[in-house]
């Protein structure tokens, strides 16, 4: 049985062919037109005090880069996901970003657990990963040099803790660490640095998250009568621990990381409990022009001062480094070629630049540039890690007062 070919069939086939022939071209045009960036900030969970601000900061700088004509001939396109500060949720979100949105970089992972969980995925996909995490192992697990860290490592935090403990004349420190890579990294970093100085850590516990009470853990540490307790902790657990310590009535001092000991902690436990507590955090590059630009943009985007969120300054710098590297790598560069340029645009030797427009202009004149970040000088070492300065804040009458800046 044969059927004649009608005019309608021919038309249909022709239309189909025409449509099919345009398909690959459309896809190609899209690829060349934008650089796809996934954000994976901690909008919910333990990182939630910072996550929204981090994402807003990224949105603000992406808008600035696009307004300046994009980078390397391409506009930046954002895909936002929430890491929930949980590794399992972050892995799902990262998979979606990589497989569905086809992003070429993932920015803004915050907790070390999340970064460590997402790294294998970004590495397998051959895309760039930029984070604010502290776990020391991130440096060594990054075998393809695709991971860039904008926060000090926990090891460096530990060193800063040790410098402060020594300056303040403490003799019998103990440690308490939240059971994750970051918490333990802080405590271990401190122990290593302290023992190098010839000291001894009298007690140390690692505790579990989400407990209603940490009395038992405190009891173990306080039994050794430490004169200071150094923690690798977060806000909720620090709240419980400090309240229970205060109620126990045994005098000691505290040194805590800034992501735990912040104004929210003061609000939660009251001025009396935290009086004299030492909070240590990396400080932004406050005298740099780039910090001023970030501060103004953050104020506009989030309605708060830039100094309230050191991580938002870091995510600002992430986009900046990426965009400048894209510009340096030139039109149509692959992810690997862009990645190879990140150190070139951020590390010394070269004219210091503070904004994207400045950098783009100089790169156009084939000059070597050195981006000075809003979060730190931003000079990456061989692991892709930076060394910011640390601020020592003492809580006095409920206010965090900066008493010292420590360079390690």
């Amino acid at each position: 049985m044969s059927s004649p070919i009608t005019r309608r069939d021919v038309l249909l086939a022709g239309a189909g062919l025409a449509a099919a022939s345009t398909l690959p071209r459309v896809a190609f045009a899209q690829d060349a037109g934008t650089f796809r960036i996934g954000t994976l900030c901690p909008i919910t969970g333990a990182g939630s005090p910072f996550g929204s601000g981090m994402q807003k900061s990224i949105e603000a700088i992406v808008a600035e880069v696009n307004a300046a004509g994009g980078a390397g001939g391409r506009k930046l396109e954002l895909f936002n996901e929430d890491s929930q500060t949980k590794p399992d949720a972050a892995v799902l979100a990262a998979k979606k970003l990589i497989e569905v949105n086809k992003v070429q970089a993932i920015l803004g992972t915050w907790s070390s657990g999340v970064t460590l969980a997402v790294m294998p995925l970004t590495e397998a996909a051959g895309i760039i990963e930029m984070n604010c995490s502290g776990a020391p192992s991130i440096s060594t697990l990054d075998t393809k040099d695709l991971v860039w860290r904008f926060q000090a490592t926990n090891d460096r935090f530990g060193q800063a803790f040790a410098v402060i403990a020594e300056k303040r004349g403490y003799k019998r420190p103990a440690t308490m660490a939240f059971n994750n890579a970051s918490g333990i990294g802080n405590a271990e970093g401190f122990k290593k640095a302290w023992e190098k100085k010839g000291g001894k850590v009298v007690a140390g516990v690692v505790y579990e998250p989400n407990r209603p009470s940490y009395r038992t853990e405190l009891q173990q540490v306080l039994a050794q009568k430490p004169d200071v307790i150094v923690t690798g902790s977060y806000l909720p657990d620090s709240t419980i621990i400090l309240r229970e310590w205060y109620q126990s009535g045994q005098p000691t001092q505290w040194i805590m990381p800034g992501w735990a000991a912040n104004p929210d902690l003061v609000k939660a436990v009251g001025n009396e409990v935290v009086e004299g507590l030492i909070s240590v955090d990396s400080v932004s590059n406050e005298n740099a022009q780039s910090y001023k630009a970030y501060g103004a943009a953050y104020q506009k985007a989030a309605g708060k001062e830039g100094s309230t969120n050191v991580y938002a300054a870091m995510t600002w710098d992430m986009v900046m480094c990426l965009a400048l590297a894209m510009e340096a790598a030139g039109r149509g560069a692959t992810v690997a070629q862009i990645n190879a340029k990140i150190r070139d645009v951020a590390n010394p030797e070269g004219t210091k630049v503070y904004t994207f427009a400045e950098g783009k202009k100089l790169l156009g004149e084939k000059k070597k540039i050195n981006y000075e970040g809003a979060s730190s000088r931003l000079d990456f070492d061989q692991y892709g890690d930076v060394t910011p300065d640390f601020g020592m804040f003492v809580i006095e009458k409920g206010v965090l007062v900066r008493r010292d800046v420590i360079s390690i």
């Binding site: 919910t44 209603p212 009470s213 009395r215 038992t216 229970e244 009535g249 436990v269």
Partner: protein, 293 residues
């Protein structure tokens, strides 16, 4: 580190308090399990929302923890009844897994609505911090005693209700044999309303006590669900006495294990105990053998 008798007593106290705290949601779980016959995964989120209601009362300008508690109880009972009428009533007579899945949905819904309106910041109840009473090294926190007293009182009232009032008797009848209860003319609609109100109150008290002791955050109730489930299974599913005993047993066991295995593994010890109980007595300490129909 040498462990002294005083250390052990302190650990024992901590374990009892933590156990009593978990016992409240465990009771709520086990009651629903026994009477409505499904594991209610929204139990933790009822706690969370009630605690937030308590925080809300304090935010209105009062520092009275009693008023906050009453607000939490009212919110907990209302929430629990609303979700029963809205969701679980329609699923009666279906397989338990339908209600279980629905309860997971209720949990997500409740939590998402909460975070939509109040955000993710942590909150604490405004209560004065008082130093512990120190009896030669044995430390007793007034707050802890308060928490324990409220938990014990709530359990006492619950058991009085279950064993001394007509509605309690009807609840137990339905738990024993729903068909027989129905044949005897027990109107299950009323009984279930009473059940869900009770569940709401228990969750509210649990949430308040947890909030007073620790911090209130949108996820805390959900995180307590697994320990409560474990306590229910150890005690025997559907048995209120078992729920309390199971919760305290797990609390004490995990705290007492700290000097031996360290704080990181104390939760593992609790679950080890769970396995052991199930090996020796698969129905739990106070549970009856369940017959699958």
């Amino acid at each position: 580190m040498a462990i002294t008798f005083i250390d052990v007593v302190n650990l024992l106290i901590n374990g009892c308090i933590e156990g009593l705290l978990i016992a409240l949601p465990t009771l709520a779980l086990t009651l629903v399990m026994g009477i409505a016959r499904f594991p209610n995964a929204a139990t933790g989120d009822y706690m969370t929302l009630s605690a937030y209601a308590g925080i809300g009362v304090q935010a209105l300008g009062t520092t009275s923890i009693l008023l906050a508690g009453l607000g939490a109880i009212a919110a907990g009972a209302a929430l629990s009844i609303v979700f029963y009428l809205w969701v679980f009533r329609a699923l009666r007579g279906r397989a338990p897994v339908a209600s279980l899945v629905a309860s997971i949905g209720v949990a997500f819904f409740a939590r998402s609505m909460l975070t939509l309106f109040v955000g993710h910041d942590q909150h604490t109840f405004a209560i004065p911090l008082v130093r512990a009473w120190n009896f030669g090294g044995i430390r007793l926190l007034p707050t802890d005693l308060y928490v324990a007293a409220v938990a014990l009182l709530a359990m006492l009232l619950l058991f009085a209700m279950l064993h001394l009032t007509p509605i309690g008797r009807q609840m137990r009848a339905i738990a024993d044999n729903p068909d027989l209860a129905r044949a005897c003319g027990i109107r299950s609609g009323r009984v279930l309303l009473a059940l869900w109100a009770t569940v709401g109150v228990l969750c509210a008290l649990g949430g308040m006590m947890f909030g007073i002791k620790a911090v209130v955050s949108p996820e805390f109730g959900w995180e307590l669900l697994i320990p409560a489930f474990a306590a229910m299974i150890v005690g025997g599913i559907g048995s209120p006495v078992g729920a309390v005993v199971g919760a305290v047993l797990l609390g004490v066991a995990s705290e007492l294990s700290v000097p031996i295995v360290g704080p990181s593994y104390k939760i593992a010890v609790a679950f080890g105990l769970l396995l052991l109980v199930l090996l020796v007595r698969p129905r739990g300490l106070f549970g009856r053998a369940l017959v699958a129909r």
